[in-house]
C-alpha cells in the first residue's frame, strides 16, 4: 500500500522529474541531493565576536529611553482627570465666570505693579552701585552655570591630566 504524498513531497517529485526525465537519472539526482543535504546539515553558524553582546548593550544604553504607549496613555489620563477635578471644584465652589474674570484682572494689575516696582528698585541700585552689582550678578550666573553643568554631566567636570 502506498502512502499519499504531501505537498512538499509532490513538489519535490515534480522538480526531480523536471530536472531528470529518465527514472535512473532521477534516482541518481535524488541520491546526490540527499548526500548534499547531509553535508549541508553539518554546517553551523559561527559565533560572533566575543564582545558582541556588550557592544550591542552599550549602543542600547546610549539610546534615549523611548516613551511607551502605556506611559503616554497614563499621562493623558492624569491630565484629563486633573482638569475634570478642577472644573468640578470650580463649579461646586459656586464661583461665577464674572468673578473669575475680575480676579484675573486684579491679579494682572498687581503683577504689573510688582514688576514696575522691581524695575525702579533695580534702576536705583544701578545708579548708586553699578559696578558692584554687575560683578555680583556675573558671579551668581557663573556659579549657577557651573553647578548645573556638574549636575547634568558629572564626567564633564573631571580634570583631564
Amino acid at each position: 500500500m502506498t502512502t499519499p504524498m504531501n505537498d512538499d513531497e509532490a513538489e519535490l517529485a515534480r522538480l526531480l522529474a523536471e530536472a531528470a526525465p529518465d527514472p535512473l537519472e532521477r534516482e541518481a539526482l535524488a541520491e546526490a541531493h540527499r548526500q548534499l543535504e547531509k553535508d549541508l546539515l553539518r554546517l553551523a553558524d559561527p559565533l560572533p565576536p566575543a564582545d558582541f553582546v556588550s557592544s550591542v548593550m552599550a549602543k542600547v544604553e546610549a539610546e534615549p529611553r523611548r516613551v511607551s504607549a502605556a506611559e503616554v496613555r497614563s499621562a493623558v489620563l492624569i491630565a484629563v482627570v486633573g482638569l475634570a477635578a478642577s472644573a468640578l471644584a470650580f463649579v461646586r465652589s459656586g464661583a461665577s465666570a464674572d468673578g473669575v474674570a475680575l480676579q484675573l484682572a486684579q491679579a494682572l494689575v498687581a503683577t504689573r505693579e510688582v514688576l514696575v516696582g522691581f524695575g525702579s528698585g533695580l534702576a536705583a541700585v544701578w545708579r548708586t552701585a553699578g559696578l558692584p552689582l554687575s560683578v555680583a550678578l556675573a558671579v551668581v550666573v557663573m556659579v549657577t552655570l557651573v553647578g548645573l553643568r556638574r549636575l547634568v554631566a558629572p564626567e564633564n567636570s573631571k580634570v583631564v591630566a
Binding site: 522538480l15 543535504e37 553558524d45
Partner: protein, 194 residues
C-alpha cells in the same frame, strides 16, 4: 532530517524576555541578544560575506529591534521578526554594493567552522566543509540565504517564507534549485581539481 523533514514550531520562547524588555528591563534585552546573536550574525555573514560588515549589521539589527520593540506583534515569533530586520538591513547593503559595482569581497570561510571538530577526521571534514562553503559562496544571495536558513539554522519552510516575505509554496522549489546549483558548482570544482 531528510529532504522533507522539518515541522513548524509554534512556541514563543522569547515572549517573557520581550515583555520585560518593553518595561525597560535591559537584562531581559541582553538575554534576547545572547540567545539570538548566533543566528542573526550567521545570516548576516552568509549574506554579506564580510565579518566586519556582518558584525556591524547584526549589532544594528538588535538596536533597531530595541528601538521598535513596541511595534513587535506578540502573536508572531520574535526570532523571525529579528531575522527579518537583519535580512532587510543586509539586502540594503547588497543593493548598495551592486550600485557601486564592488567586487573585492572579503572571504569569510575561516569563521564558518563546524560545531563538532574531532582530531581524527578534522582534516578531511574541514576540507569537505571548505569545499561546500566555497561552492556556497559562489551562489546568488537568494540561494545562499535559503540554504543557510533551511540547513544551517534548521528553519521550516513556513518560517523561511515569513523571513523572506514570499509564499511558503515557493520555498521547496527555491531549495531544490539552490541545491542543484550547489551540486553543479561542487562537481565543477572537483573536476577542476582532478
Amino acid at each position: 532530517m531528510s529532504l522533507l523533514g522539518m515541522t513548524a514550531d509554534t512556541t514563543q520562547p522569547w515572549l517573557d524576555e520581550v515583555r520585560r524588555a518593553r518595561r525597560g528591563d535591559s537584562s531581559a534585552f541582553a538575554a534576547l541578544v545572547r540567545g539570538l546573536q548566533r543566528p542573526v550574525f550567521g545570516l548576516c555573514l552568509r549574506l554579506l560575506r564580510s565579518e566586519a560588515e556582518a558584525t556591524e549589521v547584526a549589532q544594528e539589527t538588535f538596536l533597531r529591534a530595541y528601538q521598535h520593540l513596541e511595534r513587535f506583534d506578540e502573536t508572531r515569533p520574535f526570532d523571525l521578526w529579528v531575522l527579518t530586520i537583519a535580512r532587510n538591513l543586509c539586502l540594503d547593503i547588497l543593493r548598495r554594493r551592486q550600485k557601486v559595482q564592488t567586487e573585492d569581497v572579503e572571504p569569510h570561510a575561516p569563521t564558518l567552522a563546524s560545531h563538532e571538530p574531532t582530531s581524527e577526521e578534522l582534516a578531511m571534514a574541514s576540507q569537505q566543509r571548505r569545499s561546500l562553503e566555497d561552492a556556497m559562496a559562489t551562489l546568488s544571495d537568494d540561494d545562499r540565504e535559503v540554504l543557510a536558513l533551511y540547513y544551517v539554522q534548521k528553519r521550516t519552510t513556513k518560517e523561511i517564507a515569513v523571513i523572506m516575505g514570499v509564499a511558503p509554496g515557493t520555498i521547496m522549489a527555491r531549495l531544490f534549485r539552490a541545491r542543484e546549483k550547489l551540486r553543479t558548482r561542487m562537481t565543477q570544482a572537483e573536476q577542476g581539481a582532478a
